[in-house]
């Protein structure tokens, strides 16, 4: 570990600094988020971010990259993701061409050494993050979508920050990347993976934070409207809906209201725009009945 350059000290030296840095790029972090990001830098550990859809999990990684001025490398997970797509692959076409071009000239041994050179290696996101000379943020998005067995691919990268390639040897990171894994919790992740990560549960924000987010992300909105929006959304979330409104939907709604030129939300304007916020018919009906005492 000592030979590598850590990332914590140089960029974010305190929790406050993380917070300010994130705020600069428009991400409103609460105490916990800032604390975990800070800790991740210090302990050089990956962060597993879990929480309902649309609470800014992916955005967190993007914002950290932006705030620190680092490159973001993203690995989008899906069912059937394999080694060749996540780690590395040999460019076998090029290898074949090489063999054909030098068919007579050299011995097999020379050739073998030659075709398993880095030149023929196709790097995929994980290896790219490890080999990068500049500091990077690695985002492994929706890790819960890959099968349990595929998770194991990540383990070596996450704990040792290295990738073993049989033909080349072990590639170790020169700079420890900052790693974020996001999960929508559609399945339980393996203990081995969880153990290697710091855990951050991102929930819907509280009133103050939501208002702050709306103010920052929606241009041309005034305090009063933002406050009203945040309060209505909080009440909606307490209703046991099928799909409570996410932050993304709150922002959409705020933008809609601004575009429509609405200064202050009342029952009529809410009913008219509720479909931006809620995506199920019965949710809309329920909200209209409970909150506005009206039929949608």
């Amino acid at each position: 570990m000592s030979t590598r350059e850590g990332l914590g000290g140089s960029t974010f030296s305190s929790i406050e600094e993380v917070r300010e840095g994130l705020a600069r790029v428009g991400y409103v972090a609460d105490e916990r988020i800032a604390g975990v990001v800070h800790l991740a830098g210090r302990l050089e550990k990956p962060v597993l971010v879990e929480g309902p859809a649309g609470t800014g999990k992916t955005q967190l990684a993007k914002s950290v990259a932006e705030a620190a001025g680092w490159r973001l490398i993203r690995l989008q997970c899906y069912e059937g993701l394999d080694e060749a797509k996540a780690l590395y692959e040999w460019n076998y076409r090029k290898q074949l061409l090489r063999i054909q071009a030098e068919r007579s000239a050299s011995s097999w041994q020379e050739l073998e050494e030659d075709i398993f050179a880095e030149e023929f290696l196709l790097t995929r996101p994980l290896l790219e993050a490890i080999r990068s000379d500049e500091p990077v943020v690695l985002l492994v998005d929706e890790i819960d979508r890959v099968e349990l067995e595929t998770e194991a691919l990540l383990l070596e990268v996450l704990s040792e920050y290295q990738v073993s390639i049989p033909e080349l040897g072990t590639v170790r990171a020169t700079r420890v990347p900052m790693v974020f894994l996001t999960s929508n919790n559609t399945r339980e992740l393996s203990e081995a993976l969880k153990r290697r990560c710091l855990y951050l549960h991102v929930d819907y924000p509280d009133l103050e934070r939501e208002r702050e987010i709306v103010l920052r992300r929606v241009p041309g909105i005034d305090d009063e409207l933002a406050d009203q929006i945040a309060r209505i959304v909080r009440s909606l979330r307490s209703l046991e809906l099928r799909k409570p409104p996410s932050i993304a939907e709150t922002l959409d709604w705020a933008r809609t209201l601004v575009i429509l030129g609405i200064q202050s939300v009342d029952a009529v304007s809410t009913t008219g725009t509720l479909h931006v916020l809620l995506k199920y018919r019965q949710d809309i009906e329920r909200a209209a009945k409970e909150l506005l005492a009206a039929d949608a």
Binding site: E31, L43, T186, E191, R195, Y199, H201, R231
Partner: protein
Amino acid sequence: MLELLSGFVDELRAAGLPVSSTEHLDAARAVHHVAMEDREALRTALGATLVKSAAHWPAFETAFEIYFSARAELRPRAGGTSGAPGAAEPPSSRALLAEAAAALSGAGPSEPMSGAELAALLLDAIRQGGRSIGAVLARSAVDRYAGIEPGRPVGGAYYLYRTLRHLDLDGLLERLLDEARGEEELTPLEERLLADEYRARIAALRKAIEAEIRHRLVSDRGAEALARSVRRALPEDVDVMHASREELAALHRTLHPLSRKLAVRLGRTRRHRRRGSLDFRATMRRSLSTGGVPVEPRFRHPRPSRPEIFVIADISGSVASFARFTLELVYALSTQFSKVRSFVFVDGIDEVTHVFERADDPAAAVRRITAEADVVWLDGHSDYGHALEEFDRRWGDEVTSRATVLVLGDARNNYHASGAWVLSELQRQARHVYWLNPEPRQYWGSGDSIVDEYAVHCDAVVECRTLRQLERFVTELA
């Protein structure tokens, strides 16, 4: 500190959280990087390294409060960060509160406020929403009403109840709302928002009181002893039959993601199971390209049969919540079964499949069952015998060899006839008959429980007291 930390980790383990020694080490490393007096940062550091599931967070919070916040050197940071909305407060009440705060924090219980004064302050605090006042008020409320007796080995729920009963927070909410209504005309939306705001503040106050009581109990009896008495089961380990209202609500919240996870998992294993039989034709055809040598054998796609499910659930008082959970879970997984039919009974029996078919989500349907099903025949006490006979008469023919029958109930039959012959009949017709019993195994067969009489006709009788056990059973079923 390290010693304190290992005590804390032991407590988490005792509460059922899986904390590995790697995680313990991580936590020890993490605390080096945060300032010890910053309680929030400490909580974050420990939470991120020790707790790896959102469902375990409440248990962690409780333990954390007991172990760390009650210590003098770790008291929360003073005023600076809280009390932000202070600007909105009119000066008069502000001064009053400040005065009260000064009096209380300085003198403590020697100069108690009168009950009326405290109530007025409380009302003001909730109306204005000043946060820093909350802790002070909580302290004085506890002083006044909780009547804490040193040395009594209780978890504090009783003191909390005593304090809250005197404060009458619900009545406070009503009074505040009335007040607001009196001042100006409120639209329903405004009223609802205001009520939610007050409710949030009251909840915060309640939390402050709870924390205050804990804090005192810790200084009285020590962290370890208190932690032992407030330790609660994790949501997945809560006994469904004896769960309190809050626990049931927590269970509900766990049930939804659980059923989604189960559905995903079952769907996946179904798709990936490679145990189809050899497809001889396809193998031969393929072998032509390798000169007739069957290099690559081909297999038929596996077509796992989806079982038909008949759920027969006792929904009489004692086991009602268990039946609801199970029904909800089974329906959430209904895509994994070819057909689900459900019947509920007390002493009469009724089919409720249509309730689920009409409703958009199982939870809503479960809520409506009690209202819509016609399940009382004579007196509304469980009568398994009559219900089963009735089932056999009305729907017995529809149980085919593809069906799996699940009976949910504690088999406490109020000394009626058992009607066990129906089950043996069903077992002959159906593929499987399972009985899920929400009672602990050692109570089976005691009193009026006649589960043993039924057990001989079932493929298995399964103890199903917690969500964890239920999950395991459903996984095996599908």
